[in-house]
Subunit: 316 residues, 2 copies
DNA sequence: TCAACGCGTGGGCATATGCTCAAAACGCGA
DNA sequence: TCGCGTTTTGAGCATATGCCCACGCGTTGA
């Protein structure tokens, strides 16, 4: 009898679900059709959903991305995750990533109440600031997490802070230091001087950190850009470095290394675990291990990537 | 630019649809996530539906029935249609049909305002009245569309009117006539006498007619039940009869025949086209042609059948 | 360069929905 | 048959949704 009852109820639930979702009737109409109260009709529709009698299928490439983003968010307890479709035209182009990052910055900067945005390294970050919609927000603050003077003394290509400040009228705090100091002592001395301490203080209060993620292999961006020498890179790799965020190298478990160049870095290290909203932006098969490690080590609590990379991270 | 715009809009629509239907967010939440107004979020969800980006799939046998019912309703412009799942245990049993008919009668009779229900022949109709929930409605009227005296003078097995009246306390009007008179003249004389005229008058005002549909072949129920002889049956078949409703034989196009037993029938003929809600109840491969003809000829404007029969009707 | 047109946007309102709570119905056991 | 515990039901309310309308921005044509 119970089974019979259940079955008939599920039948009705299916009927209600069909009428609601497929035929597009209101619950009132369904209630009349099935000779029950509207409340019961609503219950039947819920039941139909709860019992998974009805399923939704989204016929659109975006669907896969949403799915991947949801899984990443769940798996790594992220506060924010976006997965952009792999562009079939130019799979290499991270235009989509930059677009989303720019959108995120836009959304953050649109706020009337003062916010502090901290920026790390990375082409995606750089490209993102170029796409930020100009907006007048003089009370916001933009702070750099990483020195913008390269080894040869010139200003780095990555003057993202300045560019973003240009577009918003916000106060900005570049980090007027070389990426690496010559020794740990020197680093320790430099980071205590007034302007640098100020940058650190502002960065510590950041509402949003947007950082790139670099892989530590022979094509590591920190090396290509001339911030670290080949020997330094290899040493870090020997020490287990698999990725870096604002220059800070970490191993496959996402633990920051306490040796090598990390001892001479002027950059502001990631929080561990990330408490501030810290969004990593990175794409590419080469970066999968680095991204996964950053996620596992809680060096970041948000991620913007593309479909292929997201899939690869989840499949590890 | 326009295409780009459209594409991006569809992307957003897909995103909104995903968040709404799959992730179960409210449109307000989606609006915040996508950085648009709630109104726009609603538009995106609508768009997602309109563009068929999302599809619903109901994983339940009922789904097929709802689909078939909707198609029958559309195709034959029915005011009511129900398709019952084919019972895998006892495919022959029309318990489902009877159940639905009973439900229909229940719903009609539940009304506080007086209603008139007219009943035809058929096992489904008979079985339906047996399942009607007893309810006290003395102001309702139950009227028979068909004589309940068989050829041998005994009261017919199909005293459905009496049974239904028992269960409702309604006034009832059986048709105190043999099914067939011996001649057209006699029929014409009989249907004018006072009690019969009264029955006809009540039937003409019926709010609901529930009738069985019989096929006119060697296994015709009208013959098996002894209402018409083998010769009469064969004559009607020669005249093109393919089905009958309350005894009135009609051809493959659903046109009532003007010859043979139809000239001697005492039953109240179907309206052509049906204006009163006239529900046919019938199941079985043998009846498919008869049902389809009745639908095409507008002898009925409602149908209660099972899955297999519905499918067969639509596939003709 | 200005004006007119039109599409897209957001505010606001009527309606639909989801949910809570008390009451009723049901089943079960004494 | 009665009483109790459990489930189901329907009223009512807070919230979410759908839709209309006026506004604004961008585009086009003179």
């Amino acid at each position: 009898m119970a089974a019979e009852n259940d079955k008939s109820k599920l039948d009705d639930a299916a009927r209600a679900g069909w009428l609601y979702f497929i035929a597009g009737h209101t619950q009132d109409e369904i209630a009349k059709m099935l000779q029950v109260s509207r409340a019961s009709a609503q219950r039947l529709v819920s039941l139909c959903l709860a019992e998974r009698l009805i399923t939704f299928r989204l016929e659109h490439p975006i669907a896969a991305c949403m799915e991947l983003a949801a899984r990443l968010k769940e798996r790594f307890k992220l506060v924010h995750c976006e997965v952009v479709p792999a562009d079939p035209v130019a799979p290499q182009a991270n235009a989509g990533i930059a677009e989303r990052c720019a959108n995120l910055l836009d959304a953050t900067l649109r706020s009337e109440t003062p916010v502090i945005v901290a920026l790390g390294t990375g082409r995606a970050v750089r490209a993102a600031v170029e796409r930020v919609t100009p907006i007048d927000r003089p009370n916001h603050q933009i702070v750099s997490l990483v020195g913008n003077i390269s080894a040869d003394g010139s200003a780095s290509f990555y003057d993202t802070v300045g560019r973003l400040a240009d577009r918003t009228g916000a106060r900005h705090y570049p980090m007027p230091l070389p990426f690496l100091m010559s020794s740990e002592d020197e680093r320790n001395r430099m980071v205590r001087i007034e302007p640098i301490a100020k940058v650190k203080a502002v960065a510590a209060k950041a509402d949003l950190r947007l950082v790139g993620i670099g892989q530590m292999d022979q094509k590591a961006q920190v090396h290509i850009d001339g911030f670290v020498t080949r020997d330094e890179l290899f040493e870090m790799m020997r020490l287990g470095a698999i990725g870096e965020i604002t220059g800070w190298a970490y191993d496959a478990k996402g633990r920051l290394l306490k040796a090598g160049t990390n001892k001479r870095l002027t950059s502001i290290p990631p929080e561990v675990p990330a408490k501030t909203t810290t969004i990593g932006a990175a794409v590419g098969a080469a970066k999968v291990a680095a991204i996964a490690a950053a996620l596992n080590g809680r060096l970041i609590n948000g991620l913007i990537t593309d479909e292929a990379t997201a899939r690869a991270i989840l499949e590890r």
